[in-house]
Symmetry: C2
Subunit: 203 residues, 2 copies
Amino acid sequence: MGEAKTPDASRRSERSRQAILKAVVEQVGEVGYTRLTIEAVAARAGVGKQTIYRWWPTKGALVLDAFLALLGEPAALPDTGDVARDLKVVMRATLVELVNPRFELPSRALTAETQMDPALAKQFVDALMRPNLEATKARLRVAQRAGQVAEGVDLDVAVELLFGPVYHRWLLRTAPLTERYADTVVDYVLAALRPPGPPGSAG
Amino acid sequence: MGEAKTPDASRRSERSRQAILKAVVEQVGEVGYTRLTIEAVAARAGVGKQTIYRWWPTKGALVLDAFLALLGEPAALPDTGDVARDLKVVMRATLVELVNPRFELPSRALTAETQMDPALAKQFVDALMRPNLEATKARLRVAQRAGQVAEGVDLDVAVELLFGPVYHRWLLRTAPLTERYADTVVDYVLAALRPPGPPGSAG
């Protein structure tokens, strides 16, 4: 897709690309990842199979791109000064996405596939998970500077304490993912990260 | 397998059962879940395909049983009175299992499959995850009675705070799973659950 093109050809390419990615999401939703075929995606998108093979080396890469297109840009992390409130916004948004049927099936398909395909897993983490984890880490770093999070806290562990329980519940379907659950996780994690001091003294 | 049998027939059945489960683990390790076939398992175990179909309704159920046989009985949770020490024993054991190549591949295969098969997911959780989560919850309840964990704590959330981060890191392969990581997670979670009081007074 890096070649020089006339504006019309570029527009056509982009239209085909969008049609393919949309067809992938629909197909995954209907037949699941394993039974998704390039043939069916091509037919649904109205493009030739070769177009798909030219742009995406594997089925995994294609589904990953479709998923990224579906999600769009990650929401910016708010910074109101109130770290609990800001983290609750993020965790609630994560949760709403995980239980949205439009996202849930492709998410599960991709999670399944990444278990058996470490290269795809790395792409998935780098493109999708890492930016969210890093944004959350950055917000916690601000809280650390503001004295709301203890100095010695390992922020990599802190973000996993936030996201881990939510994904664990989603993955295993052990209990409903409610906003109250997201809030409780945030409250507990912030209690763990709080700087030492008399009870109730920290933000 | 509930029918009355002569002792010899029972022994033969049990031998076949063990051979089948062993063959499943070896096959999953070699070709992965998707390409595992009942034919290949039967050939490797030296039994007829019908024997396998008679005992296991689906490939998922077969792999789940093979995995349960591989894991054996869950280790009892220690209760030394020191809740931090006891939880570290559990979390380290969980982590050692997750990174053991013998368990890792079947674990990932099963994790992948449960994403697309909610009925298998439920069996997996009930047979494998729930007992561990409940045992940990019981240990936290003892700690709660001993005043090491605050009264109002939601213990279902507490166990997810312990296991969620470890599984998250394993699932996404974001960073190495070390014993130090397990210990850090336990320390942070216990800090979150601690009853209110002057700093350093609890645990």
